[in-house]
Subunit: 262 residues, 2 copies
């Protein structure tokens, strides 16, 4: 819970890079709520998952594109950005909220694992900070954000007001703009869907083989409590994501079945 | 469960790269159990988390360093390797087991999120394949593996025999070589520990600032059912890891607390 009498400090990150329209929108909205500090990648980092830079050096330089807002571009991954923000840029000031995005493209269902947007939020959750990843189900660079602006603000204010469950970051996905307004916000579980890859085989000008990863999203999960269901029905999906990956439901079975324990 | 009358097909991957001593050990052990196919990164990919290559091309080339074993080196991440193995190299043949490692260094506790080794195993689990990531708590290139060789084989055979819980990949960590033999195998939960980063600030020959990420592993989790406890007590830790990141325990609380749902 937050002391509502003081101005909240809000750290903004993303994975599409510091100049993307999505982060610009998010900064604009967060300014209405509190003091904003931006630490974001200097180039697109989509699909980086929870990668960190451990075998190489990191750059962090001030960036003035957002005027009077304190902003830094980082050569690393989204998770690196959050680590550098916490331990170097903000040092002893803990942000009241960490927001990542707004991602150009869905991070619902299994995409959460591949998502740089969500890795920034989860990294913040590991640090004990309330964190939200925002994604819009529209991959285009000139995606429309006006239908979700108020919802982004409302969700951020809700988290500042009611706090965050322990060990959790929120994965918030917005439906792309439709003819009717968004119907509302639903708390969901991650749909058990997956990407069905197809690799396109091509040859370079020197005759050497290379591949493009392509494929389709396949949802075999018919549940109406999933993020996919919510998005398909023009609701905003909110999935609480844990960084404890233990499949607690599987512990007893393994203890029963394995003969090699000792 | 596996038909024990046929030779198992085993896919081997890692994140340290196709020439690392750890994968060489793993290939040697897996050959005793079944037919081995190797698809591994052409360069080290440590700390890559669950990154995938979506904005760039992928290379996949045969590699003959393992003699008669079918092996490919891939320009992408560990998760890319598993995707290419399944959809291109093996096509319609499903491996009976996917193993990743043996990683030079621990992937216990929160490190599972940053681990390329485990991302290969989790990617295989998403594909519905039994998968194990093996890591040794010894970061050195010339780490000793002889004290764990039989255990790696036993664990792989156990999984082939008893199958894998749904939606799970195993995160197996081995203690580094000590004066006494390993005490045994324990099914564990992921310890709630974290890395406490410290960034070393340096300047390059041109006077520009850069950083090295460094830090210490801090375990505030006193539970004796954790992977950290097992490893500190010379046991092998086996954590079942789910790719459903939903914090199911948090759903009801959010539904109760949030005023903006609808």
């Amino acid at each position: 819970m937050n002391d509502s009498s003081k101005t909240p400090l809000i750290l903004v990150c993303n994975d599409d890079g510091i100049t993307s329209p999505g982060i610009r929108q998010l900064i604009k909205i967060m300014r209405r709520i509190g003091e904003v500090v931006v630490v974001a990648p200097d180039s697109p980092q989509s699909g980086m998952g929870h990668a960190i830079t451990i075998g190489n050096t990191l750059r962090l330089d001030p960036n003035t594109i957002y005027g009077d807002i304190k902003a830094y571009e980082c050569s690393g991954t989204p998770a690196d950005c959050v680590k550098l923000a916490k331990h170097y840029v903000l040092k002893d000031r803990n942000p009241d909220l960490v927001v990542s995005g707004i991602n150009h493209g869905s991070n619902s269902s299994i995409s959460v694992l591949y998502s740089g947007t969500m890795s920034a939020a989860i990294e913040a959750a590991i640090e004990g900070l309330p964190a939200i990843g925002f994604s819009l189900c529209d991959y285009s660079h000139d995606a429309e954000f006006d239908h979700i602006e108020q919802h982004v603000e409302d969700i951020a204010r809700q988290v500042l007001k009611s706090g965050m469950p322990k060990g959790v970051a929120l994965n918030v996905n917005f439906p792309h703009k439709q003819n009717e307004p968004v119907k509302g916000v639903k708390i969901c579980r991650q749909a058990m869907a997956k990407w069905q890859e197809e690799f396109q085989e091509r040859f370079d000008p020197y005759g050497r083989r290379y591949f493009w990863m392509a494929g389709n999203f396949v949802n075999g999960d018919r549940g109406e409590d999933t993020d996919e269901w919510a998005l398909a029905n023009n609701y905003i999906s909110v999935v609480p994501c844990a960084f404890d990956m233990t499949a607690h439901y599987a512990l007893q079975g393994l203890n029963n079945d394995w003969e090699i324990l000792g």
